[in-house]
Symmetry: C2
Subunit: 312 residues, 2 copies
């Protein structure tokens, strides 16, 4: 167990924070980075965290998967819009029957993983965390941090070798990651959407952070209505989510420092938005209409298309 070797695919806020904790605790961690490979190789990785800042002087960081060693666990912290690249990345970094931990929001991405991942165990990692990448080699962890794990699919051979989701949870906990286990994969993903759909979308559409949205009566009602649509849609596909879950999420957000969700940063930086994973696939799979969620998705598509056009 102690010899588990980790590959972290994508050195953004989540890869940097969770991968950084693993490396700090002495695990062997290999990072695949794109834009920021050189900066991290030269200056290490800095994590400014409310629960303890640290600086990793020397980081195993690569700009191409071909250069990486095979690892027992691939922690995927790309944006869902970049998942097509996994087809060529994972065969280089994942051992046979290796474990894949997909730390992404949205729905429908596990089933699209390349064959090499699906031969091993696949877990969903849902980061209830406020963090962003401030500079190439600096992650700012602002609040929260729990990673909820859910089993998408477990391969017997892998479970025998690494102890399944419990084994992975133990590894991560030992490294200082707050881990919770979610017993129901699909419910875990839908529950995460209950937060992501309103706050990511409204932040972009109205250019506002969580505090601004909750302080205003109209947008706080809207956030709740969107949450209730997502909860009802999740239930329509068999996920038991309590009605009070909306209030819980609102209360948690209320206690958060003012936060611009990831999609806001993506939009401002001109990056692709995770609209398919976070909006369209949930809309398609729900057995019940989500009119306000759909409206938000269409507004976001429009804004993203216009931004694209204006950039040309």
């Amino acid at each position: 167990m102690n010899s588990l070797r980790f590959a972290v695919i994508g050195l953004g806020a989540l890869g940097g924070y969770y991968g950084g904790l693993l490396a700090k605790s002495g695990r062997e961690v290999h990072f695949l980075a794109r834009s920021n490979c050189e900066a991290v190789a030269a200056n290490g990785l800095r994590v400014d965290s409310t629960s303890g800042s640290f600086h990793l002087q020397r980081v195993n960081v690569y700009d191409r998967a071909e250069k990486m060693p095979k690892c027992d666990v691939a922690l995927i912290s790309l944006k869902a819009t970049d998942n097509a690249a996994l087809e060529s990345i994972l065969p280089h970094v994942l051992t046979e029957s290796g474990t894949t931990l997909l730390i992404q929001n949205g729905l429908g991405q596990e089933e699209r993983l390349p064959e090499v991942a699906l031969q091993g165990s696949v877990y969903a990692g849902l980061g209830f965390i406020c963090a962003h990448k401030a500079e190439h080699n600096r992650i700012i962890h602002e609040d929260y941090g729990t990673l909820r794990l859910a089993v998408y699919h477990e391969a017997g051979s892998a479970v025998r070798r690494h102890g399944g989701v419990e084994g992975l949870a133990r590894e991560l906990r030992d490294a200082g990651v707050d881990i919770e286990l979610e017993p129901h994969f699909l419910a875990a993903r839908w529950k995460k959407l209950v937060w992501n759909i309103p706050f990511n979308g409204l932040a972009v559409a109205l250019r506002s952070n969580t505090a601004e949205l909750l302080r205003d009566r109209n947008t706080s009602v809207l956030a709740r209505q969107l949450m209730l649509e997502v909860i009802a849609a999740g239930r329509s596909v068999g996920c038991a989510i309590a009605g009070e879950y909306a209030q819980e999420m609102l209360d948690g957000t209320e206690r958060m420092r003012p936060y611009f969700p990831s999609m806001y940063h993506d939009f401002e930086a001109g990056r692709a938005l995770e609209l398919e994973a976070m909006y369209w696939i949930p809309i398609q799979r729900a057995r019940q209409a989500m009119p306000q969620v759909e409206m938000l998705a269409r507004q976001l598509e429009y804004l993203a298309a216009r931004r694209e056009r204006d950039a040309c």
Copy 2:
């Protein structure tokens, strides 16, 4: 009949265009203006219109209702947000049993008219027109122009004197206004909302004109969905509106020059938005939910409140 005297309350795009046509045709018209009284008094009123431009050199324009003569017809072309002023204006300008023509969008405004108006006939005037006030004394009429009249309430004595809605229609037609009569008051108002609700709201929320909204697949779907919600809501209160009416409105808008609806101009200029008349009263009165319309209304409230705050 030829001696009908008109008061035009509010010298914006609609008051200037319809009132301007009445004055141009030789009717006696008295305008109540606020910000632009002086400019119109000094330089007259210019209407640049696709159906024939004209310039009225001398205009009867007043900055206070107290200075105006009593008139047979009060054409109200204020924004609905300014209707509280009618309580003190109308007693000065309206003859006993005089006719009120309320050229405004939205719902629920006729019933709030002051007593003096409700003693006479009250008509709704629905302007299917693209026009805006470019300068203090210059109206630009860009497209369309039909004024649909509907009877809110007719007073017997007034009908005997002026011939009811047909008489008013004739007067306006003689002055060159394209008039259509709507047989059902409430349906007329809801039908107007079918256009106003999507295009005013989306124009503000997404800062876009009609052509931009219709060119994009997502926002054109959204415009249609909003229209269908309004049609269903109108039906829920007994207004027979055909399902094809949405397509008709979309086709008509498609043929229009790119147009920023009035609420867009109001928002940009920092003026109050007609949210109550155009969104909240329809939402309250519908016997059926309009989730997307409500979402749009809440977004608009949020944006308006933020603009207000930022301006302080």
